[in-house]
């Protein structure tokens, strides 16, 4: 049985210009100890989907799902109070902006011990001891002194280490890491990612890793979900995805990897993710798709089966070629 199981998760925001569907029918399964990656451009609804799982969306959001269960419990059916018992203890999240994710008015130690006080049956001294232990675990030198520091006295990398320690504090079963390194200096990124992956391996915790970095995905994840404009366009085991991507978007993402580029110019995906005002009628990727047909532009695509990576496409690729398409429409 999987630890986290999501079916048809949708999130709609009420905005000044009408409802906006930021997440559209997304599925996800994570087993105990598994590492699942979610990739996709900015604005494709990765964060919103995971915040929906955590129950951290603002009041303007409406969350619907056929199934949203964690550890055998239906998250949507739980009362807020029962849900808060799970959040922060069994299910923890690490955010993209470590600097602004720590409360500037309280010390690191206070914020770290607070999570334990809420969920664990530890006395004050035990919490302090565990806080020191956690900071050592995430590689922060002089933990006693750092516990007394205020967040603005820490660097970005240091803050993210604290956030990781905070997520680990109650020995969770699943951690959601939302682009944990995007906001950091390039030199620090690898360190933080290594730390996270090492801790995941050591403790056997499940990990959902949201990232832009296909290279990291290839090395670490067991399974990959590809998101585009709020939709999940493909989901495959990592190896299969890199060998034979079924959705044109995935294919284009992989083609954009430096190590895969054949020519001198790095290929990129032209255009941008559609926003609220410019949603195409058919497939959302069609305006940018090399293989788009008239059908793609008018009719929303169906979801393919497991053998085709659940690709959301009229003509899923097989070995780089659209399947079931007789005549290829030549792009301009």
């Amino acid at each position: 049985m999987s630890l986290l199981s999501i079916r048809n998760l949708s999130v709609t925001f009420a905005t000044g210009r009408g409802p906006f569907r930021a997440v559209d029918k997304v599925d996800l399964d994570v087993a105990t100890g598994e590492l699942v990656a979610i990739v996709g451009e900015s604005g494709s609804g990765k964060s919103v989907a995971m915040l929906a799982v955590m129950g951290l969306l603002p009041w303007t959001a409406t969350v619907t799902a056929d199934r949203l269960s964690f550890d055998g419990k239906d998250l949507l059916a739980l009362s807020p109070r029962e849900r808060r018992k799970i959040i922060g203890r069994d299910l923890a999240m690490i955010f993209q902006e470590p600097m602004s994710s720590l409360n500037p008015c309280f010390t690191v130690g206070f914020q770290l011990r607070e999570a334990m006080a809420a969920h664990l049956d530890l006395d004050k001294a035990a919490r302090q001891a565990r806080a020191i232990e956690l900071l050592e675990l995430v590689g922060i030198p002089e933990p006693e002194r750092r516990l007394k520091a205020f967040p603005h006295q820490l660097s970005g990398g240091m803050s993210q280490r604290v956030m990781i320690a905070m997520a680990l504090a109650c020995r969770p079963k699943l951690i959601i890491a939302d682009e944990p390194t995007t906001a950091l200096d390039v030199t620090i990124q690898a360190q933080i990612l290594d730390l996270l992956l090492r801790l995941q391996k050591d403790s056997g915790v499940g990990l959902v890793l949201i990232t832009h970095d296909m290279g990291v995905v290839a090395e670490t994840a067991q399974r990959v979900c590809v998101h585009y404009a709020g939709q999940q366009v493909e989901m495959q085991p990592t190896r299969g995805l890199f060998r034979d991507p079924h959705h044109p978007y995935t294919s284009a993402l992989l083609a954009a990897l430096p190590e895969r580029a054949s020519g001198r110019i790095l290929p990129s995906i032209p255009g941008v993710v559609p926003g609220l005002a410019d949603r195409p009628a058919g497939c959302l990727f069609s305006p940018r798709c090399r293989f788009a047909t008239q059908t793609c532009r008018t009719i929303p695509p169906p979801r393919a089966g497991a053998e085709l990576g659940y690709a959301l496409c009229h003509t899923p690729l097989v070995e780089g070629h659209p399947r079931g398409l007789k005549k290829l429409e030549v792009p301009a």
Partner: protein, 336 residues
């Protein structure tokens, strides 16, 4: 931190000097000679006039007079009231506790209602409660408080007979010598039964009237500050820990949201003291505000000059303290 402290204090000094200058010049611009004001309309012999002018230093160069005046103020000499012939500082010191008591009660009223109202309005944004708070705040902010005071007297005192109309104490039934000058404390110290209740009853309406505008300002500021903070990443982090909404809002969000609110509260000193002039006039409250207005009516310019100097000095000092407190409660600056 220390450098900031020094710089902030240094910035205050020119303001003080300018304040002395303005009060000095203003009183010299007032129509009518101070001598005339003393001798009345009877007229005066020229040699006596010259002597008086000499006594008061009016025959010396103006800059010399200013230096004398400034020197006096630095040594606590704010002049002598023409009417009562007592030093202005002395009169002020006797009356100021009454104003301070009223101001503090008004401020407490504003804070105790304003902050929770602002917080709840922000948390329940768009709700009926939110709209009500914003409407009341807009009305309070636009309130002519002298009229508000009259309305409350009309309704609470005249119509319902609940509260006394004027003064600080029911002087017919109770009498005791002031000790601290604060009626709430003195009435308790006096040991007279019912005196404290009388002091409280006398304070209610004036405090409400004086606290109305600060209440509106504080509620609005708390709400908007809270709305901003509730969208911050660290509030999301706090919720991600599974903390109770009370703890998330009341501790993590409020602690940050209060930083600008404390500043705004501090900046209400001026509003409160200006409001005290009106409130004390309406409720015959024997404080410095009423005294100031009466000084004008009596053409007691030294009292006016000294009073304005002292009131403004207090506002400048409080603003200074507020700035320093702001630094103290904001760790980002404290350890900057």
């Amino acid at each position: 931190m220390f450098r900031f402290f020094i710089r902030r204090v240094a910035l205050t000094l020119p303001t003080f000097v300018a304040l002395m200058f303005v009060t000095f010049v203003a009183v010299r611009l007032v129509p009518g000679d101070p001598i005339e004001a003393r001798t009345g309309e009877r007229g005066i012999a020229p040699e006596r006039l010259a002597m008086l002018r000499h006594e008061l230093g009016l025959d010396r160069p103006v800059w010399q007079q200013f230096l004398d005046y400034a020197n006096g103020i630095v040594h606590g000499d704010f002049g002598v009231s023409i009417v009562t012939k007592t030093p202005v500082l002395h009169e002020f010191a006797i009356l100021f506790p009454a104003t301070l008591e009223l101001t503090l009660c008004g401020l407490i009223f504003a804070i105790v209602l304003g902050i929770p109202a602002g917080v709840i309005a922000a948390v329940k944004r768009g709700s009926f409660f939110d709209h009500s708070v914003m409407t009341v705040a807009l009305t309070g902010y636009s309130m002519p408080i002298f009229w508000w005071g009259l309305l409350l007297i009309m309704f609470m005192s005249e119509y319902l007979g609940l509260t006394p109309v004027s003064g600080r104490m029911d002087l017919i039934n109770y009498y005791f010598e002031p000790v601290t000058g604060f009626m709430l404390i003195d009435s308790l110290l006096s040991g007279q039964e019912g005196a404290f209740g009388s002091a409280v009853a006398h304070l209610i309406l004036p405090s409400i009237v004086l606290g109305t505008i600060p209440l509106a300002v504080i509620a609005r500021m708390t709400r908007s500050s809270m709305l901003e903070v509730l969208g911050e990443d660290y509030v999301r982090t706090a919720r991600a820990k599974g903390l109770s909404p009370l703890r998330v809002v009341g501790l993590h969000a409020l602690r940050n949201a209060l930083i600008p609110v404390v500043t705004v509260i501090g900046l209400q000193t001026g509003t409160l003291l200006a409001g005290a002039v009106l409130t004390e006039t309406i409720f015959a409250w024997p404080g410095v505000g009423k005294w100031l207005i009466e000084s004008i009516a009596r053409r007691d310019y030294p009292a006016l000059q000294g009073g304005i100097m002292l009131i403004s000095g207090i506002v400048i000092l409080v603003n200074l303290i507020v700035d320093l407190t702001y630094v103290a409660i904001n760790p980002r600056i404290r350890h900057g």
